[in-house]
């Protein structure tokens, strides 16, 4: 198939060019010295004016981390990481007091990413979706390297009693909440990267939705890695009290560089009785170039606890970026009748590697979970779904349905499926299905005979393949994600 080879070449030539978020912002930064030791941790804690208990919490995590070794079970390969050869704190020098004081360079940076940080712009509908319609306002927390630089719509949200701020601010303003929930879903020593994060996390978002409140707008955080040789270790904590509802979205980008940068985040969600948390991610970290140079190592621990009866946590992720993704957004279904969902699209092109999936731990009676995973591999990309469904003896009447589909584009990539199913409850029902295939010639031909270019046909078919997942994204972001998919695979044909 010469057409295929040709288009595969096109993919390679365009992929590098199409990462349009690869610019660097020239801004005065403050760094901690390179390396990782107790002094650096004290430095970070001091910088953020943290209370003593948090410093001790960090130091305990650091001790635990020192005794741990990197997990090696994932199907990803990379050279050893020198944890001493990186900066663990990098922040813009000028710290704004309010939105008006934000460095214009930063405002420009986020504007370039399509995220206005000025509420007036949102409200004026300056930003429009690709389809031309004005977007609904979205409250944004912008995290630039190690710190949060701005959070919008705070006053509006406060009217409903909603707290949406950086985690640093939450430590200062709402210490009782942070202390109660931090590490309660992902204990610091849960794994190598969560221990590292707990020791050195610098910023991230904090959300608290009071009892019975339905959050009136989408909340979102945009993470930007900008500085060289810097790791990003953000920490997100979302608490939804009984009967509340929140939809949260995170986006992430980074400059194009030859070096690999580490991103090791921890996200914790807590849903009380009848609360719903919808957490969406459009992960677009720099994936590295066509030869596999550079790109972000994305080693993330995300976990939600459905503590209350009939609570619900829904993870949706569109993973197009990063050189390596190691990530398993999970649900602990504790409350009776609680619901966990995981919808994922992961694309690996060029030399990208993704090992991603979920864990659904059914503890309570009649808990239900759904897993829909769509993996797309192109170039030399390696894409692994790894998931665990565990039904404990008390999860009477529990249900799980899992569907994992993989699409291969080209014959040098790999698609792997590794589900673990552990059922200890007779009345529970677990169903798992997985398929691997490529885009069928007849589908392509059919589209082309109707006048579509080969590229458009692939885009159309891939979008169709991912539809079940994309439709879970909040409206405002679905179009963006769809476009991103197309860009990530532009021109590829299988």
């Amino acid at each position: 198939m010469p057409a295929v080879n040709e288009t595969l070449e096109t993919v390679q030539s365009v992929t590098q060019g199409t990462y349009k978020w690869g610019f660097e912002t020239d801004i005065e930064m403050e760094f901690a010295p390179k390396g990782l030791n107790e002094d650096i941790i004290r430095f970070i804690s001091r910088k953020k004016g943290e209370p003593e208990w948090l410093l001790e919490w960090r130091l305990r995590a650091f001790k635990a981390w020192q005794a741990m070794s990197e997990p090696r079970w994932a199907a990803v390969k990379y050279p050893p990481i020198d944890y001493q050869d990186a900066y663990y704190y990098a922040a813009p020098k000028r710290r704004p007091k309010s939105l008006d004081e934000v460095d214009p360079e930063l405002l420009k940076t986020y504007a370039k990413l399509g995220i206005p940080l000025k509420e007036q712009e949102w409200l004026a509908g300056v930003t429009t979706s690709p389809d031309g319609t004005a977007r609904a306002p979205v409250a944004v927390d912008a995290v630039f390297d190690s710190v949060s630089v701005a959070t919008t719509f705070k006053e509006r949200l406060e009217k409903d009693g909603i707290i949406f701020c950086s985690i640093s601010e939450a430590v200062r303003e709402h210490p009782e909440l942070v202390r109660r929930y931090l590490g309660s879903v992902v204990p610091p020593a849960d794994n190598f990267y969560s221990a590292l994060n707990s020791a050195v996390f610098t910023d991230g978002s904090f959300v608290y939705i009071p009892k019975g409140v339905r959050c009136p707008m989408e909340l979102s955080t945009y993470f930007r890695i900008n500085a060289k040789s810097t790791g990003q270790f953000e920490r997100t904590l979302i608490i939804a009290e009984a009967g509340s509802h929140v939809s949260y979205l995170e986006g992430c980008t980074a400059p194009m560089r030859d070096e690999n940068q580490l991103h090791a985040a921890v996200v914790e969600l807590v849903a009380h009785d009848e609360a719903t948390i919808k957490y969406s991610t459009v992960q677009n970290w720099y994936p590295g170039d066509a030869e596999g140079r550079g790109g972000i190592y994305n080693f993330v621990t995300k976990r939600g606890a459905c503590r209350g009866a009939r609570s619900k946590i829904s993870w949706t992720q569109v993973e197009t970026g990063s050189a390596i993704t190691w990530k398993y957004p999970s649900c602990i279904l504790q409350g009776p009748d609680s619901v966990g969902e995981f919808y994922s699209v992961a694309i690996t092109n060029n030399f990208q590697q993704a090992d991603t999936g979920t864990k659904m731990i059914h503890l309570g009676p009649r808990t239900r979970s759904t897993i829909i995973s769509k993996g797309i591999s192109a170039g030399h990309g390696q894409n692994t779904y790894r998931g665990l469904v565990r039904i404990s003896p008390k999860a009477v009447g529990a249900r799980n349905f899992t569907q994992c589909d993989s699409l291969l584009i080209g014959d040098r990539c790999g698609a792997h499926t590794v589900p673990y199913i552990e059922n200890r409850c007779m009345s529970a029902k677990v169903e798992h299905e997985a398929t691997t295939s490529r885009i069928a010639e007849d589908q392509l031909f059919y589209c082309r005979s109707r006048g579509l270019s080969e590229e458009d046909a692939v885009g159309l078919i891939v979008n169709g393949f991912c539809r079940e997942v994309l439709k879970e994204l909040p409206m405002e972001f679905a179009v963006e994600a769809q476009k991103l998919l197309q860009i990530s695979l532009e021109g590829s044909v299988g």
Binding site: L408, G414, A415, H416, P419, I421, M426, S427, A428, K429
Partner: protein
């Protein structure tokens, strides 16, 4: 999981190997001595795998490691009660040693002999497929095997049906035996090999066979395994099969006996259009633990594989299914399918399954599925609404579930043997339920 126990259990076998090293069959053959030494080294390094080892995540060998095994003490002339043969030809092994006096192999159109007596000619063949460095139980077998069945089918030979009966005897202390069976089918040959086992009810032993099977171009081996070991026995078996272009290897395993059983099958499809069907049923009660682990490698284009495994669990039993399909880059036009289903009929039973796809070629059609649950209440209601009492309705659905796994077996004699074994098993359970 107790690492110390695992180490001590392994040390017992290593100690025995050191004591017997010179006296084991083929002790004078340098190639074999080297093979055994290499295996011993691998077993020393790995020991009995703990559950930390990914391939053994769901099966804990502590009961085996703890047991403390002796040499089988069978005297050559012990009188034996043999079950009636399934087909005409039968090779009989007692405690892992070939017994020509009990076997009936006359008039076969191919060579069937004892591995122990043919070792001189087996250099390069014995050990060609087994991987002691990867599979510790194969290492244990290589280190200590004494005998096995050696089958050679010439080109286009129709070998008919051959039964391989393994007998274990009861003795004071549990015995361990590690037969090594070698099967080779030349181009166009065919054979149905059916394994059966029998032992006194109370016998405790470890049966640790390794099969090395080579299926040449357009040859076809149907390999049936009726695992009905004694209730307190351990069986840990490893099958390696390599299938050339246009060849077929079919494996059907019924896991119904034993206290702790692992049935591990590695099949490599190395020539175009090779095919493999692996089916099985696990029927578990009481404290039984049964593990079926398959690894299917598609290394050549246009090969087909089909796998269906059904497990029925009662009592406090535990079932494991691990199935990996690996499709290499060269294996375009691969068609691979795998299904494993489990029926939990008791609140204390547990099923763990880990199907796995690892795919490096793009023009492939691969899928797997897994379900675990109890009987579907909709189906039960449908049957009841037609007048069938609840108990009978449930039994019908269990029978259908078992039947489904056997369905894929096209070989008539094997099918009959399986049907009888499955029906017999279910009848015993029904009786138990009724009582």
């Amino acid at each position: 999981m107790n690492v110390v126990t695992h180490k001590a259990g392994a040390a017992g076998f290593l100690h025995r190997f050191e004591g017997l090293r010179e006296r084991l069959p083929g002790g004078r053959l340098p190639w074999l001595a080297a093979l055994r030494d290499g295996a011993a080294e691998a077993f020393r390094a790995q020991g009995f795998p703990t559950r930390r080892v990914e391939a053994w995540k769901y099966t804990d060998l502590a009961p085996v490691a703890e047991a403390g095994f002796d040499e089988p003490l069978t005297a050559v002339d012990d009188a034996m009660d043999l079950p009636p043969p399934l087909a005409g030809a039968r090779a009989v092994f007692v405690d892992g040693r070939f017994r020509p006096d009990l076997s009936s192999l006359g008039g076969l159109p191919f060579a069937a002999a004892s591995v122990a007596h043919g070792l001189d000619a087996l250099e390069g063949r014995l050990g060609a497929l087994a991987r002691p460095a990867e599979e510790p139980m194969a290492a244990l077998n290589t280190m200590l095997f004494e005998d096995g069945l050696l089958l050679d089918l010439p080109e286009d030979a129709d070998g008919g049906v051959l039964e391989l009966l393994s007998l274990a005897t009861a003795s004071e202390r549990p015995a361990a035996f590690h037969p090594r069976h070698l099967v080779r089918l030349a181009r166009g040959a065919r054979l149905t090999l059916i394994e059966t086992a029998t032992a006194p009810e109370g016998a405790r032993y470890l049966h640790n066979p390794v099969f090395e099977i080579a299926v040449a171009e357009d040859a076809r081996l149907t390999h049936g395994r009726l695992q009905q070991e004694a209730p307190r026995a351990f069986q840990l078996s490893t099958v390696y099969a390599r299938v050339a272009a246009g060849g077929t290897y079919d494996n059907f395993t019924l896991n119904a006996g034993g206290r702790l059983v692992r049935n591990e099958i590695h099949v490599a499809l190395v020539g175009p259009r090779a095919a493999c069907h692996m089916n099985g049923a696990q029927l578990l009660v009481g404290e039984q633990h049964a593990d079926t682990t398959t690894a299917l490698e598609h290394a050549a284009p246009s090969c087909t594989s089909r796998q269906t495994y059904n497990t029925v669990l009662m009592g406090r039993s535990r079932g494991v299914f691990q199935g990996r399909i690996l499709v290499r880059q060269a294996a375009q036009k691969t068609d691979g399918y795998q299904m494993n289903r489990a029926l939990l009929l008791s609140p204390e039973a547990e099923m763990d399954s880990k199907p796995q796809l690892e795919i490096y070629a793009d023009d492939v059609k691969c899928s797997h599925g897994a379900t675990v649950g109890e009987l579907d209440p909709e189906q039960v209601f449908y049957l009841r609404s037609r007048g069938i009492p609840e108990g009978r309705a449930r039994a019908m659905l269990v029978e259908a579930f078992l039947h489904e796994a056997v369905e894929g077996v096209t070989d008539e004699p094997l099918r009959r043997a399986l049907d009888a074994a499955v029906a017999g098993w279910w009848a015993r359970q029904e009786e138990g339920l009724a009582a």
